[in-house]
Assembly symmetry: C2
Homo-oligomer: 144 residues x 2
Amino acid sequence: MQWFRDRCAEAGLPCTHQRQVLYRALLEAKDHPGPEMLYERVKRDIPSVSLGTVYRNIKTFLDNGLIGEVSLHHGPLRLEANNTPHHHLVCRVCRKMFDLPAEQVESIHLREALPKGFHLERFVVEAHGLCAGCAAPKRTGRTH
Amino acid sequence: MQWFRDRCAEAGLPCTHQRQVLYRALLEAKDHPGPEMLYERVKRDIPSVSLGTVYRNIKTFLDNGLIGEVSLHHGPLRLEANNTPHHHLVCRVCRKMFDLPAEQVESIHLREALPKGFHLERFVVEAHGLCAGCAAPKRTGRTH
DNA sequence: TGACGGATGAGAATAATTCTCATCTAATAG
DNA sequence: CTATTAGATGAGAATTATTCTCATCCGTCA
């Protein structure tokens, strides 16, 4: 929590009660919760909190790197007909995706066993980075 | 396309004009489009098509394994405060997620260079499969 | 061709997220 | 410690994404 307050100060973000409770809720969560879930948890401490505040602060935290999103793929469904084994290159900024044939990636090895009870089916690999357009200097905005 | 018609027959799905045009649109797409995008493309051939039909058939295709979704993470945002390098175990059925420390996975190697212009930042690995609850026999439903 | 079960189009309903604005509060200066 | 003020908050409307309902239509099989 002290780390959180320091980062808020650095970023020039007022360290409000709502923000602290929200951040703590996420710190203590082990289940990768979504906004609705966090809203429920924050409400236990601040019954008057609004869902809008939760969304607003989640976005603020993400923009400042205080928290992370589990995947770049939330939001609208994205589809493909390609049924050959393959992975993806994903642009962190514009979220364009390109196929990466499975043979191009050496197979994944674990150093320790997975937690007991989980039945592994396959490994999915994503190469995250910047696509040609977004990596080009001088241009900041996302393409979509 | 013949493959598509055969699979429809196997699955007992009427092979309607809308379905064929939708499937072809996705076959030809290289950009991992979403429903809205596919709707636009199908409309070029069938101006009267409805968005509901596009959504309905996308779901039908997914349920029958005719097409794939790019990631298990579309839908509501999922968050985490854990800022140590780590990957995730993801249950294909209930979509619960568990952390997998980065050290537990041997580093990724490519057999060929990535397409020129893509600036790689990191590899994200996801272990997809069934969690203990969903792998248990006799129970089919997802937990959420 | 005829019958019928499932598919379609239109639009309402629901879920997920963002926005607007009047009011309030954390941070800073006095 | 109080005043100031930029930015945060709560309420609820607006927007976007997706699913559902139902009357009508069409692909499949006999």
